[in-house]
Symmetry: C2
Subunit: 369 residues, 2 copies
């Protein structure tokens, strides 16, 4: 009974505001969800993680992954859920040996630093990622149609950063040394990554994901020119292979390049529905640069959540007004999905998240009236 | 005999290529210098630092500071020297207690985190920074007119980041919490910082600096809107007070905002001669955004220096070609100062720096012929 249930077995979607906004359709208010909304700032998350023993213990256990994914929805009227997992599951399945020490970032036991290591890379058997797809199906069932479920992966370039560095980095010296001195190896790795990410996202869609997001968390560390060649081209290669619909239902795709505001015009041809933006980007300017073919997602500074409620409300207003009034009426038009410009800080007071979500909903309803 | 020698006592400038390019005048080739060119990648620097005992021991000793400033010029035909010092000397002089542990970043013993601490901040007595001005005069004498000497400071916002955080940060939580929750305190601190930085740069100019640079190293972490209000406005306040000439000689000013490529058009009115750019910026686009009133400085990725010589030459060509042919002939026109997009890595092979400097000089001469 490990086979995922067919999508048709899932409950119908009650709140489709997020999906409609992704597809540039009118909504009554601006939908909101938060990157890393299931996380350490919630005491109930910390309790579940303590039971699980480790981050990967949490991510690989279907019940725990389901539990923590739903926790923020119990507190806040968010408009989407996002699979609880990590961006580095794919290279882990390639045999690189992912681990997380408490309070530290991810580490790979077997980083990829030479021709021999790159030569051994292969698109992994998706059975090794079964725990992810099982979690997707379990979460989708538990959501019971409340809000849509977003699946995700790291981008090919972002995966390559960790695969070469073996951990986080503040200068990306090793991965960029390979990029500049052995571009052939870097392209080989990125091809494998892109094809693996596409398979991975498609398997999440088959398991029940109703939208997918590609996190190009480290695209913004690349030089102009290198970004287009080594990051964006491989995001495009993923998008070319990702299902646009499943069982007759459209599956929106979101691309988020942290620090990618310089290249918005060049991202215009990307075959995705939504572009995610960090807080350095002015949403009105982004609308002009991106054109009218994509929805925009973002982009409040997560540190706003450390201010007091009145100030949070004022900053929410700035972001909503920066985008301007979204599309109303029939057909398609400009739409905005409210989010942070980066993952929520573990130090965030949960009450302030409630203030932010309520402010987005109330203010954006007023904008439309 | 601690009074700085009058500027007229300094030797005449033999290589004015850098100054001419700052002022948008034609040069025979594109001048080049490297951020952090006097630094740990040079074994002779490490030897001097070992003698000095600590980073601040090095920076506060006139002879050592002079020695390390000149070291890269002995190896490479660079077109400018930059004062060896730190961006955080000004808050140290305010009494915050700067220290550097070996292999770690800067730390302040007394960070500024509340109203009382902000209330105590004052523009420091410049006598506390006498060691910097003495170093400037000593270096200028030792240069003997070989190339111009650049003085510098951190920007008001970048100083505030360290003053509030007390050290480097990866999320700027404390300083942004103050910014969003107590903007009045942040403005107060930035005013003091701006006036202190202006005095500090003017004293460097009087001591012998022939150009000045403001490092807004952390401007790029701010949200759109907050950057303009809390970083750029105070850089402008510094520029309004900095001497434009000394003893009848023009003193060019450079503003470098790491991660500021999104705001180039808004930086157009800044009263400086040069804008520094990081590697995410396309130089041709930057020329259009900035307009023809400023020279551009930058912007190769320092990690290019880990590639082999032929690849370094190819990447130099990309950056030079991205700017395009600079102004030749009389009057003023577009000019480019070659630099890295960030400080050089301590792991850089010095021989590769020689390749880069030679490639810039040779290729840029050819572009003009």
């Amino acid at each position: 009974m490990n086979t995922p249930a067919p999508t048709s077995a899932f409950a119908p979607l009650k709140n489709d505001t997020f999906i409609r906004a992704c597809l540039r359709q009118a909504t009554d208010y601006t939908p909101v969800w938060l990157m890393r909304q299931a996380g350490r700032y919630l005491p109930e998350y910390r309790a579940t993680r303590a039971k699980a023993g480790s981050f990967m213990g949490l991510a690989t256990n279907t019940d725990y992954a389901t539990e923590v994914t739903l926790q923020p929805l119990e507190r806040f009227p968010l408009d989407a859920a996002i699979l609880f997992s990590d961006i580095l599951t794919v290279p882990d399945a390639m045999g690189l040996g992912l681990s997380f020490a408490l309070g530290e970032g991810p580490k790979f036991a077997h980083p990829v630093r030479d021709e021999a290591a790159v030569g051994k890379l292969e698109v992994p058997d998706m059975d090794k990622l079964r725990y992810v797809f099982d979690a997707v199906t379990s979460i989708r069932k538990a959501l019971n149609g409340r809000v849509p479920l977003i699946g995700f992966s790291g981008s090919p370039w972002t995966l390559a950063c960790y695969m070469v560095e073996g951990a986080g980095s503040d200068d990306y010296r090793l991965v960029k040394t390979m990029l500049y001195s052995r571009p052939d190896l870097m392209h080989k790795m990125l091809q494998v990554n892109a094809d693996a990410v596409a398979l991975y996202l498609n398997a999440q869609i088959e398991a029940g994901a109703q939208a997918v997001m590609i996190f190009d968390s480290w695209g913004g560390v690349l030089a102009d020119g290198a970004f287009q060649e080594f990051s964006m081209a491989y995001t495009a290669r993923v998008l070319a292979q990702v299902k646009k619909e499943h069982n007759g239902v459209r599956i929106p795709s979101i691309v988020f390049t942290k620090g990618g505001g310089m290249w918005l015009r060049e991202m215009r041809p990307l075959d995705c529905d939504v572009l995610g933006l960090d807080w350095t980007v002015n949403l009105a300017k982004a609308r002009v640069l991106v054109g009218e073919s994509k929805a925009l997602q973002g982009n409040i500074d997560p540190n706003v959540l450390f201010a007091n409620p009145a100030q949070i409300e004022a900053e929410v207003a700035k972001v909503l007004n920066s985008f301007g009034t979204p599309h109303t009426g029939a057909g398609h038009g400009p739409t905005h999905i409210f989010n942070l410009g980066h993952g929520i800080s573990q130090h965030t007071p949960p009450d302030h998240v409630a203030v932010l979500v309520q402010a987005v909903h109330e203010q954006s309803r007023k904008m439309r009236s």
